[in-house]
């Protein structure tokens, strides 16, 4: 069993994860990303 010590979040990250205004923005962004990809999947690009 290992215990990682990599990339622990900074205080700023922890704050942003809880900040209701920022998270509301992320909620809209994440939902629109999921909806956009499911309804309009990326076109084939070579």
């Amino acid at each position: 069993m290992q215990l990682s010590n990599e990339m622990k979040p900074t205080k700023k990250t922890l704050f942003l994860r809880k900040c209701k205004i920022y998270q509301f923005y992320r909620f809209i962004r994440l939902n629109s990303k999921i909806l956009r990809v499911s309804q309009f999947p990326p076109k084939h690009e070579k």
């Binding site: 990682s4 990339m7 920022y22 994440l30 990303k33 956009r36 990809v37 499911s38 999947p41 070579k46």
Partner: protein, 473 residues
């Protein structure tokens, strides 16, 4: 009048039945066969398993919903499918065997939880727990609460979560359970009394059976391995990957790792996901011969229009099924977990002792819903005299794993892992197999809101409430 039989009222079966009835109306007959009187919203079982959600909140009665929609409901187990004679034998709860005729059938029976595949695994053996169905989640909850009581008395406990077989899947569900346990213990002020450990068959942390996910973040391409290491570092969770659990005893698992080394890990409470196999439905031909082995893959999942039998290195995105129609019987479809994938996405591994350690591909709720819809619409095509025209491959489908870290809409959180496509396509996306612009890895309260929204919306949709079909799968 065509008779369509859907077997299994899970995500894929319920979606299929609703679409079939919506498209076919009263002119055709749709029958649902399910052994249980209720629909269970499985993703929320992680909250039931830590007593943060009451079981009745994740279930609803099927009969009134199906009756309102004009879908016949038979509460029974499907035991065998007779594709030449076009009927299903069922066993009712009184043990009566009956025949149900069909013109078209969808097998949407999900997984058989193969606890037998690992000695001593599972709640029936009394050594470990599972959260894969409501009964198991309640047992896991009770056992977890006993450990909470011990911690409240000042005792230290060891909690082990992960996969209980070298070829298990559903790592996302186990991940969600472990992060919820962490969060629950933090809230109870008991986190310092628990050593929480992750054990899995993944080749790397964050593989999740999908070969890991990459996303662009802060100007870098981040792998889900780093993302998960960061999460586990933050939550002080110990981990061991590349491991097959071989045997479980009271308080101890015996495992083998990639290098073929054997070892053991002690625990006070363990939730280990079993291997998923196809449900034990037999396929019988007109001469009474058992043709299950021909129609299904070795794990018992129904073969559909995929390209089977290729080695992992040669598998391409185009080998993945698109219509979910059986190549042997055109009126037979499989949806959700019941269809046979052509292979794993994660790199397979066999140890020097011959143990296969391969994280198999999860078929998430989103994929199961989409496939249920595709199978239903293809049957509608056939009933209306067309060839199946609806096609959705997992190599063209998005996937989202929203792993909750506490369900509160005020101070909950979730790790959101979004990918497109689920099955990597290295011809379209040579570098990472996926579209980085459409993929994402992030943690925050927004994920908790999404998770709650999904819970409410999907139960609403599965009940066939007004406008249900506008809610995307």
């Amino acid at each position: 009048m065509a008779k369509v039989v859907v077997i299994g009222a899970g995500f894929s079966g319920q979606t299929a039945a609703l679409y079939l009835k919506k498209k076919l109306g009263a002119k055709h007959n749709v029958t649902m066969i399910s052994p249980w009187p209720r629909f269970t919203y499985i993703p929320s079982l992680v909250w039931v398993g830590i007593d943060r959600m009451k079981p009745e909140k994740v279930m609803f009665e099927l009969a009134p919903v199906l009756q309102k929609k004009g879908i016949n409901f038979i509460q029974a187990w499907a035991r065998s499918i007779h594709p030449d004679d076009q009927y299903v034998t069922i066993e009712t709860k009184d043990g009566e065997i009956q025949k149900v005729d069909y013109d078209y059938v969808i097998n949407a029976t999900g997984p058989h939880l193969n606890f037998e595949g690992t000695e001593g695994l599972g709640p029936d053996e009394g050594n470990s727990h599972s959260i894969c169905n409501i009964h198991h989640a309640k047992l896991a909850r009770d056992a977890y609460l006993e450990q909470v009581k011990r911690m409240e008395k000042g005792e230290k406990v060891k909690i082990l979560v992960g996969t209980g077989h070298g070829q298990a899947t559903c790592q996302g569900a186990a991940l969600e359970y472990i992060t919820n346990i962490h969060n629950d213990l933090v809230k109870r002020g008991l986190r310092d009394r628990a050593k929480i450990m992750w054990i899995s068959n993944e080749p790397q942390l964050g593989d999740l059976g999908v070969g890991g996910v990459c996303a662009s973040k802060h100007g870098y391409i981040m792998k889900s391995e780093q993302f998960m290491k960061s999460l586990f570092a933050e939550q002080n969770i110990y981990y061991q990957v590349q491991t097959a659990v071989k045997k479980v005893e009271k308080g101890k698992v015996y495992w083998e790792n990639y290098d073929g080394e054997f070892g053991e890990t002690e625990f006070d409470f363990a939730m280990l996901i079993p291997q998923f196999k196809g449900t034990k439905i037999k396929y019988i031909d007109k001469d009474g011969q058992d043709i299950t082995d021909r129609l299904t893959n070795p794990a018992g999942f129904l073969k559909v229009d995929g390209n089977y039998g290729k080695p992992w290195e040669e598998l391409k995105a185009s080998d993945w099924p698109r219509t979910y129609q059986s190549p042997y019987y055109k009126n037979m479809f499989a949806a959700g977990i019941a269809f046979a994938p052509p292979g794993s996405v994660s790199k397979p591994h066999t140890t020097k002792n011959g143990t296969v350690i391969t994280a198999t591909l999860p078929r998430t709720g989103m994929a199961s819903g989409i496939i249920g819809k595709v199978a239903a619409l293809n049957i509608v095509d056939m009933i209306e005299g067309r060839e199946p025209s609806h096609k959705e491959s997992m190599a063209e489908m998005p996937g989202a794993c929203i792993a909750s870290i506490g369900k509160s809409i005020w101070n909950g959180s979730a790790a959101s892992i979004i990918m497109y496509p689920v099955v990597p396509d290295y011809e379209r996306y040579p570098d990472y197999g996926r579209d980085l612009k459409a993929s994402g890895l992030e943690i925050g309260l927004a994920g908790a809101w999404i998770k709650r929204t999904l819970h409410t919306m999907f139960i609403y949709k599965m009940k066939g409430n007004p406008g249900w079909s506008f809610i995307p799968e």
